[in-house]
Each structure stands twice: as C-alpha cells, then as structure tokens.
C-alpha cells in the first residue's frame, strides 16, 4: 500500500455554458489589456489523499466515491482525475 494524491477536476461538460468563466473573461480579463486570452473556464478541484495499492486502483476508488456520493452531477459536469505520488 502507498499514499497517493488524487486530484479531481469538476467542470461543466463541453457545450454547456459557464456563466462564471464567461463573466471573468468579459468583465475582468478583457477589460484590461489581456486580449491574448480567448477563453476562461471555471472548475472545482478536490484533492484526495488516499491509501491504495497502485495508481490505477487509487483512480478507480476515487471515481467510485465521486459517483456514489454525487459529488458531481454527471448530467451537467465531467470529471478529470489525476493521480500523483505523494
């Protein structure tokens, strides 16, 4: 068993609007001189620290937890899971 850090990024699915990101882009970033920026998306990140036998099972376990406890709504959001050695 080893300790892993698992990062879960929760964001709206592609094609679903993101009012918060759009507001930050239009009302903050583009109001300055940062015209090189074309898109901002907001997301939420959860950082899990988990004891598991390997990276793969750490990822699977965290995915299961997120699904089971409705940590995100699969209708609206997608999640990306990254695993790092601690």
């Amino acid at each position: 068993m080893a300790i892993f850090n698992v990062h879960v990024i929760i964001e709206n699915k592609p094609g679903i609007s993101d009012p918060e990101g759009e507001t930050i882009l239009n009302d903050l970033v583009l109001k300055g001189t940062h015209s090189a920026i074309s898109k901002i998306k907001t997301a939420k990140m959860l950082k899990f620290t988990i004891k598991e036998k390997d990276k793969k099972s750490a990822q699977t376990r965290v995915k299961e937890i997120c699904d089971e406890l409705r940590i995100y709504n699969p209708m609206v959001s997608k999640i990306t899971i990254d695993v790092f050695d601690s």
Partner: protein
C-alpha cells in the same frame, strides 16, 4: 423527436408535401404536449377567464389585472419538473428565470417570486434530500442575484415524488397600465433576438418534458445565468419606456421554434428569419439545433428599423447581445433560412396549433374502496405524538427554506413569509397578498374535492391578511394523460376548480398544465397547485403580539374528514378515508365575515386551519408568538367527534381568530348576524399549549420546547440527516 406517426401524416397532409428535417424539429417541439396543450386545451376553456379587473391582450404570456389608479399587476406560474429532477440546482433556477421573463414580456417589472416544491420522503430517501437541498439553493441563488424577493410558497414531501421533483415557480409583476406592451407588428418590422447566446443546452427540452422520465434519457440540462437575466430585465424596461417594442415574447420550451411561430400566429403575420444571424455559443450548430435549443435568458422582440438604433444603444449600455434575425412578412408563413437556403417554410397556424385531442377518461379503480377507513391503533400519549408530528417534514417550520431567500429586497414586503400569506406594498397605496397552495394527499383521494380544497385554502390564506381574492392561477400537474384513469383525475380537478371559480367569481388569469409527471415507480398523485392574488384597499392585518388573557375563536365546523390528512398518513401510515369537502355557501359566509372583522379592526391575528388540523394551527400561533394557550375541545363547533378527529381533521373554511377580551362582545354580535358557525374555544397565557377535554389535558406541551423542535427539525434533517 417525438412526433407520432399519425401526427406526421397530419403534418404532411396539411402542408401537402414531405416536411424537411428542420420542419420536423420545429413541429415536434411546438406540437409537444408541453407547448401545444393538445390533451388539455379543449377542456381548459371551461375555466372562467374574464372579470372586471382582467385585461386580456393577444400574445400575453402572463395574466394582467387592473389594480386601479393606472396600475396593473401581472402574474404567471410555471413548472420546471423534468429539468429539476435531473439537475435540481440549474433546473429550479432556470424555472425562476423562465417565469420572470413571462412577466417581463407583458412590459411589467417582476416584483416577487413564489415557489412550490415537492419531493420524495426526505426522512428516508437520500436522493430526495439532495434534490430538495439543491433546488432550494438554485431558487435562492437566482432570485437573490436578480434582486427580486422570493416571498412565499410551500414545501411538501410524499413518497409519490421519489426520484422526481415538482418545482413550481410563480412570479408577480407590477407596472403602469399605459406601459403594457400592446403586441402588434406590421410588414417590414424587424425581429430581434436579445440576450444570451444560443447553445446546445436544453435541446429538445419541451419534448423531454412531454415524455415520462424513465431512466437515462436525461440530456436536457440548462445552465442558469442570473446576471444576464438582470441585464435583460433592465434593458427591456428601458426599451419599453422609450416605446421601442412592438411585440415581445420570451424563449422558453421549444426555443426559437415556439417563440417565432406563436408570435406570428398570435399577431396574424409571417416571419422570415435566417439562422446564420442568431448569435450562437458554438460555431458548428446546425439549423435544427438552433431552432429548438432552449438556451436560457433570451427574448424575441419585434421592432422597426427606426427604433433599432435606439434599441442597439440600450443593449450596448447593458452589454447584452442583440441580433436582427429576420423580419415580418404578410403571408402568415414561418420561413426559416440559412443564408439563401430555405430550411423550413410552414404556415404559422399549422405550426402553432397542434391537432387537439379528445383523450378518453375513466374513473380509476383505486378510488373504489379508498374512502373506507381501517381500524387505527389507539394513540396512548397525544403529547408525545404531537411532538413527533410538529417535527415531521411536512408540518415543521419551513424557515430553513425561506430563510435562504431574500424576501425583502425591493422594500415592498410588508408581511413577510412564515405567515399565512405575504403582503406586498403597491405604488398606489393598495396592498397585494398572494399565496400558492396544493394538496396532493387530498387530491389523490378525491381529485375534485381535493382541487377545490387547494383553491379554498389559498383563498383563506390571503383572506387572513385582509385581502379579497381577485384572481387565480392554476397549475395542473398530473401523470401520463394517455392513461384514461389519469386523464379522469385531471378532468375532475379541472371541473372542481371551474365550479369554485364561477361561484366566487374569481377569474383564472393564467396557468400551466404539466403532464407526463411519471417516475420509475409510477405516476405522481394528482397535484394541482392554485395561486391566489388578493387585493387590500386600505391596510393589511399586521399580526400583533398576543398577550395573556387574549381569546381564541374558531370560525367554521370541524367535521369527520380525515382522508389524506397528515395525521392519517404520517402517524398511522394510512392512505384513505373521506377527504375534506368545501361547502361553497359556508366558505363564502366565513370568508366574508373574516374580512369584515379585519376591516373593523377587531382582531390581533388570524390563522387558517389546514395541514395537521386544529392542533397544528393553534400550536403554530402559540409557537410563533411564544405564548401558551388552553383550548377546550368540547367547545369546537361541528358534529360530535372523537378527540383525534377534532384535533387533526383538515376540514376547510376554518379560521382561528385572536382578539382582546374587550372586543369579544362586538365580535359575537357580528358573527351571530353573519350566521357563520363559531365558538370561543380558548384563552392565551402561561407557558403550555394545552388541549383539554373533560378537565383532562389531552395534549400538554411546553411552548418553548415545541417551538425549538418545530423551528429546527427541517434544517437538522437536511443538514445532518
């Protein structure tokens, strides 16, 4: 896409050729139950819709009532059940957005929001708790961001909503009569789409709402953006003030398809539009998607070339996008193009008017024996039972819900939520009371009497503030109408509402029908929701502090009507019995005398008896005012009944009045003259709520303890499980 084979034949024969794919999409959206009311429209005509105060104009999405001195109020009710069952936060929030744009489209400023929420059993069902929590947050976030107070509503839990949610939202608008949009258009006028961009969210939402929510086909999700909505409200009202709007419609179910075809049909014009002109979120959207997308926060406006410049300027000021997507023609056709290519070219009356159906109806089998009561287990300790009862989710205080809503923004709310109904101050010195009510438990047992009961309860609630009911909104929510038994319950409820509305001369100013409310375990109970608007000419009854020695008087008889009561269903887990029936004559007498007594300034506070019966209603007064009361059960008027029936029967037309002793003589004089049934049944004082019979305390509760339980139990349940 949900066009039935015979509907496809119907369309083909009406237009004399095979429809294109875009045409199919447009018609499928517009002919869905959600947009066309094809099952219900024939029957809805029975409701009285005219009245001395009602202003009707073609193409209005909301009801308009004249409140005098050149002012009008507008009102509308909508539901967002299917989307909320899938994504409660966004579904509930976009529901609020939709109904607010209906208010806006008449040219009035939205001033209040109401919400009626129904979920499964949150004591056991985690999913129901998740839905409840997020729907409330969604409404709170959206309403609070817009600066519109959420001033009332109701919350109910019942197993029939497991895995589902009923989210009903009503809104009220206020404005000057001369500023109402008089929907009109002439050839050459421009058609403008204003607001948020069109994306792939919510594609096919209205058809989705017209299918049963079975399992995985849950793709129609809409994302709320209250900040754009707020900008749209301000931009539209400014454009209205400058007279720039000829006609207006909000984009709701069915998106552009419905907005364009219905506007054209209502105004007897044609509209030619180009999908390339629609501002989209993604560049690769095809015409079909653009026409049926239900992206939120969009309005369709008809204006002319001269006014467009000014409209553009306003939109720039508020930083919202507006694009000219087409123009008005005189040929009554809805012509959709992509550049030069025609995608759809249909007669607007064909699109906007689906063939109405005559659905068969049949009395449901389950009703045959429903009124039979089973033998109940005797209650050994009513005080203990009562503590459990007041902490149950349906009876407990809903402060956890309305505490999250800003109910005072706009400084109109003079009577706040938590009372029978909230009251708003209007600019002409009058006051508006409003309330929504439903009771699926009663409606399940008797769809007709149950629906009438909801109507009367909503009336009672506004009457308690001193308001005379002037208009009604109905929202009829049922299961699959193709099932004759369900359709029968729909018809019965509708007939009941019609009879009551006619007798009391309360016109129906708006409404909605939501069918196909089915969950994996079957249809929901019949759930008509009634909203009542009441007008107060002088001052509302502001509830005053109750002090020792004040008297408690009940108006109305308590009858043996236990069917569908909380007591039967929550305490005894029994569904059945006879549900309460409203006696129209008695109802009118009681309503009039209560209004008279309030006008004569004889009362400190008035509360109606409803869910949980007399026991709960008296306790609510005591807990709100933190004072005890001694009630004699043998004095309660009505037929002779067992104590549990006197305590918990949910008979209608009953009001509890609190007054000072010195006013009792005058009160009795007036009550005698009115021929209403009444009795002085109790006196306030001390620290205990006591219901007594033959010198024994049947129920004896410490007010402070009861109050704490009643106040906190819902929050405890939601937050800590």
């Amino acid at each position: 896409m949900s066009l039935e084979p015979q509907e496809l034949d119907d369309l083909t024969s009406k237009i004399g050729r095979k429809p294109t794919s875009t045409e199919l999409q447009i018609v499928a959206a517009e002919w869905s139950e959600h947009c066309s009311y094809k099952s219900s429209k024939k029957h809805l005509k029975m409701l009285p819709m005219k009245g001395p105060l009602v202003i009707s104009e073609k193409g209005y999405d909301s009801g308009v009532l004249d409140v005098g001195d050149g002012y009008v109020i507008t009102a509308h009710i909508e539901s967002h059940n299917h989307p909320s069952a899938v994504e409660p936060y966004g579904g509930a929030a976009t529901g609020v957005g939709g109904v607010i744009r209906d208010i806006l489209s008449a040219g009035t400023r939205p001033i209040a929001i109401f919400d009626g929420l129904r979920f499964g059993d949150i004591e056991k069902d985690l999913q129901a708790r998740w839905l409840f929590k997020n729907a409330v947050t969604g409404i709170a976030d959206y309403g609070n961001c817009l600066g519109i107070p959420t001033i009332g509503g109701e919350v109910e839990f019942d197993e029939c909503y497991s895995n589902y949610a009923l989210v009903d939202v009503a809104a009220i608008g206020f404005g000057k009569k001369k500023n109402l949009i008089k929907n009109h258009a002439k050839k050459g006028d421009l058609v403008v789409l204003l607001g948020g961009s069109t994306g792939r969210d919510g594609i096919g939402g209205s058809q989705f709402a017209s299918d049963s929510l079975e399992s995985e086909n849950r793709s129609a999700v809409q994302i709320p953006d209250p900040f754009i909505e707020k900008l749209i409200i301000e931009a539209i009202l400014e454009a209205r003030n400058q007279n720039l709007i000829h006609a207006m419609k909000d984009l709701g179910g069915g998106g552009l398809s419905c907005a364009v075809s219905e506007t054209a049909d209502a105004l007897s014009i044609g509209i030619e539009m180009d999908v390339n002109k629609v501002h989209t979120r993604e560049s690769d959207m095809n015409p079909d998607e653009i026409m049926v997308s239900e992206s939120q926060e969009r309005m369709l406006i008809v204006t002319n070339n001269d006014k467009l410049k000014k409209l553009d300027k306003i939109c720039k000021k508020f930083r919202i996008t507006c694009s000219v997507i087409g123009h008005v023609t005189s040929n009554n056709m809805m012509h959709v193009k992509k550049g030069k290519k025609t995608c759809a070219n249909l007669p607007t009356d064909v699109v906007a008017n689906a063939t109405l159906l005559d659905r068969p109806s049949k009395k449901p089998a389950y009703l045959k024996n429903i009124e039979k009561e089973k033998k109940l287990k005797p209650i050994l300790d009513y005080s203990k039972m009562m503590m459990k009862f007041i902490s149950s989710p349906n009876i407990a205080s809903k402060i956890w819900v309305y505490g999250q809503y800003d109910h005072e923004v706009g400084i109109r709310t003079v009577v706040k939520p938590g009372m029978d109904s909230s009251v708003l101050r209007l600019d002409n010195g009058k006051f508006l009371a409003a309330k929504i009510d439903g009771n699926p438990k009663h409606c399940y047992i008797n769809p007709r009497e149950g629906a009438i009961g909801c109507f009367e309860e909503a009336c009672r609630n506004v009457v308690c503030t001193g308001a005379k009911p002037i208009g009604m909104l109905d929202h009829l929510q049922f299961g699959n109408p193709e099932n004759p038994e369900i359709f029968w319950t729909f018809l019965e409820s509708l007939k009941g509402l019609t009879d009551f509305a006619k007798y009391f001369e309360i016109p129906c100013v708006g409404g909605k029908v939501s069918l196909y409310n089915e969950t994996p375990s079957g249809p929901i109970k019949p759930t008509p929701i009634i909203g009542i608007l009441g007008l107060i000419d002088k001052t509302p009854l502001y509830s005053q502090k109750i002090t020792t020695g004040n008297c408690l008087v009940i108006i109305g008889d308590t009858k043996n009507e236990m069917g569908g009561s909380e007591y039967f269903e929550y305490i005894h887990k029994f569904v059945g019995g006879k549900c309460p029936v409203v006696n129209f004559q008695e109802s009118k007498t009681n309503m009039n005398i209560v209004l008279d007594l309030i006008r004569k300034d004889l009362l400190k506070t008035v509360h109606d008896c409803s869910k949980g019966g007399l026991a709960v209603a008296v306790s609510e007064i005591c807990m709100t005012h933190q004072i005890g009361c001694n009630v004699s059960l043998e004095k309660v008027p009505g037929p002779k009944l067992d104590v549990d029936r006197i305590l918990f029967s949910e008979s209608h037309s009953r009001y509890l009045l609190v007054l000072e002793k010195k006013n009792t003589k005058k009160l009795e004089e007036l009550l005698k003259k009115s021929k209403a049934s009444y009795k002085m049944i109790g006196e306030f004082g001390g620290e205990n709520i006591r219901f007594n019979k033959e010198n024994k305390h049947v129920i004896d509760l410490r007010v402070d303890k009861a109050q704490k339980t009643w106040f906190n139990s819902l929050r405890e349940l939601v937050v800590h499980g």
